[in-house]
Point group: C2
Chain length 417, copies 2
């Protein structure tokens, strides 16, 4: 298990000399992660974040028409002006569980409230795991008590939380950023669980971001929506959102910067570093997607509108034949062009240009005589870019994707319940 | 290699006592299939159909924005009132080949015309195979001469044609139907090449139907559009059409029935049997899709409109997680509900009902306590149905799909050019 990625360790040795790359690195937060027994494996399955001074908060949810009980409850609680805690359970998605499930989600928030002396609506909630199974509520409430007792601002506690939200993830996924705004150092930290499935179920993404920035709720919401929109919402693994997807950010204000209350330089600096953080998390998700061995970015430029650019980028990132070709490091421009052609986006083939890893492979309606060995080598890297100029206008957008491997099939076909 | 499927052999022993399950079974048609050398394997790669008396014809093409030279030329020639021949080459798609490719497609039709004393525009054309590679036109024109010399109405000649249009298909796919309309027996026969890819390329579907029915061009077009729309266009393997997809029907009139010239009983009978034939071919394609071990039908009822029903059916048939679950014979209702929920189709989860192989697995917002072993057994069959009632209205539609296996990845990732 990695505590944090090697390349970000240098950032972590700040003034306190302690390396903490977890969500407790932001001042004002305690966390815990424990095993409640919901997961039969006995692995950690319940995480708790606590902000004693209270935090401004923002959240984004799945757009699936079928949503889990936790999403229904969290959508209500996020309206509360100050949030003090968030609870996440894994191993059971509490989705398609009817009124019993909804009651269970409310009981979870009430139990957190009881342990930490909060109102239930001051607690956010997310669930991930098997759907259609009744949540073993006694195990969960006992687990919440255990987690409340274990709360700490240590790096271990933050890592425990990151582990507790995992399902089929191979490793905890964490990132941290520091930025100085008007002379005050602000920390942003986050963890995400990736597109893993537990039969008989589906991908669920849970993302938890903490920051010690002081920022008004409205501005936090705006920055978070933009950051998630350009990172987690630009990542496609199977092409669809689940019933449980939830991303949250809590801002404690403990950095004591001048509160960011309107657009301007401070807001822009905060927004940029938040996007950098969520992009890091999105890329970690892509690389840890089920069966994935590498990720890629599809950049589309020259589109007649931004939605057209995104549509073209997404169809390429979702196209199984492209994902297979990338798995095989095969510079298969034909599948890329075919994908773009199939999605209804306006362009003329003779004006389309396509690059793989910076090398032009298609231009003027036909392939170039590119160096296949060179492009293949680029494609064997952990990450590369497919760049497409539609030659229609000035709009651009992008999408992240990952390769499709036999392992994906193994995970999703062979592991029965 | 199968000459024809076992279950249709009994139909073939007609008045002549000869079993012919190929496109030459319809009176008035000769066919041939030869190896021109375009395929480096030396396998058959050029097919020719000839109707000496001329035929009314209809065709449908890919909706991809990027189309092959053959599609451009065929779209012009299909306007000709009587068609006498059709040429199909495999091994080279002649797509993304610029003006040289367009000229080559025209040369192919001209060569057929020269051999059979026809005008080029009386010849239809289709190509399938590698894209972005220049067509070796000398080999192709020499091949056309060989095919013209080999034309025959024998079953072997029909089978040769079916083999010549194959790419990564495991077997030739053929079907035949006979129907008596106003006392006259009419034959419809067809062959199709499936969703096979040759690296660095894409799926291409080529479908050739012959019939000895006498039917006006307009009515033939109408029946064909409806039949293909409800069969080949209801099949999804990777979710997208290629640059080369072409389906054609030629009607010789040699059965000497009273010409079908308007809607009515005769037209309806013809349309029904044509749909039955193309459905047979579509199902053969699904079962012979790359890596597929079984197929399934997604039936959606209770939708608020037919497009909504189709959208829901298609998203389920295209959803990789559903395809993996079917590969593993896992009655994974969660992935099905999640797919439907993700596609933007209007429904309320509490009103949705889902059956797998006739067994209700989900109703009233939650799973039923169904017999998993029984459903799993149904799912191991060659074909089963996922039935979804959205509970919103009276519209319905359907889609065919196939499972997703490791073999698909192997075919599409590991076989480089």
């Amino acid at each position: 298990m990695l505590l944090y990625r090697d390349d970000i360790i240098p950032q972590l040795h700040g003034e306190h000399g302690m390396a903490n790359g977890t969500i407790t690195a932001a001042k004002g937060f305690l966390a815990a992660g424990i095993a409640s027994g919901v997961k039969v494996s006995g692995k950690p399955d319940l995480g708790l974040v606590y902000c004693p001074q209270g935090a401004t908060a923002a959240a984004m949810f799945t757009t699936n028409n079928v949503v889990a009980a936790s999403v229904k409850v969290c959508k209500q609680h996020i309206r509360t002006s100050r949030i003090f805690a968030a609870v996440v359970n894994s191993g059971n998605a509490n989705a398609c569980t009817g009124t019993t499930g909804l009651a269970a989600a409310k009981v979870m928030c009430a139990k957190v409230g009881k342990e930490l002396e909060l109102k239930p609506e001051q607690v956010l909630i997310a669930s991930t795991g098997i759907i259609g199974h009744k949540l073993p509520i006694k195990k969960v409430t006992d687990g919440i008590a255990m987690a409340a007792a274990a709360l700490s601002n240590s790096a271990k506690a933050g890592l425990d939380f990151a582990k507790a939200i995992m399902t089929t993830d191979n490793r905890p996924k964490q990132a941290i950023r520091k930025v100085t705004i008007a002379g005050v150092e602000i920390t942003l930290a986050g963890t995400v669980k990736g597109a893993g499935m537990i039969a008989p179920n589906m991908a669920t993404t849970i993302c938890m971001i903490t920051t010690d920035a002081a920022i008004k709720r409205k501005m936090l919401g705006r920055a978070f929506k933009a950051a998630i929109g350009a990172s987690l919402n630009r990542l496609t693994v199977d092409g669809h959102q689940s019933t449980n997807d939830t991303a949250m950010i809590l801002a404690s204000g403990a950095a004591e910067n001048r509160t960011i209350s309107k657009p301007g330089a401070a807001f822009n600096a905060f927004s940029a570093v938040l996007l950098d953080l969520t992009t890091d998390l999105a890329k970690q998700m892509a690389l840890d997607a089920e069966g994935a061995t590498r990720m890629f970015t599809v950049e589309v430029v020259g589109a007649s509108s931004k939605p057209q650019a995104f549509k073209a980028a997404r169809v390429v990132a979702d196209y199984d034949l492209v994902k297979c070709a990338i798995h095989g490091a095969d510079p298969n421009w034909g599948r890329i062009i075919c994908a773009v052609g199939s999605c209804g986006v306006r362009f003329h083939p003779d004006k389309l240009t396509c690059k793989i890893g910076g090398v032009i492979v298609f231009r003027g309606g036909r392939p170039t005589s590119f160096d296949r060995a060179r492009v293949r080598k680029i494609m064997t890297q952990k990450e590369h870019t497919i760049w497409i100029d539609l030659g229609m206008g000035k709009a651009k957008d992008f999408c992240y994707g990952c390769d499709l491997s036999r392992e994906y099939i193994t995970i999703n076909a062979d592991y029965h319940t």
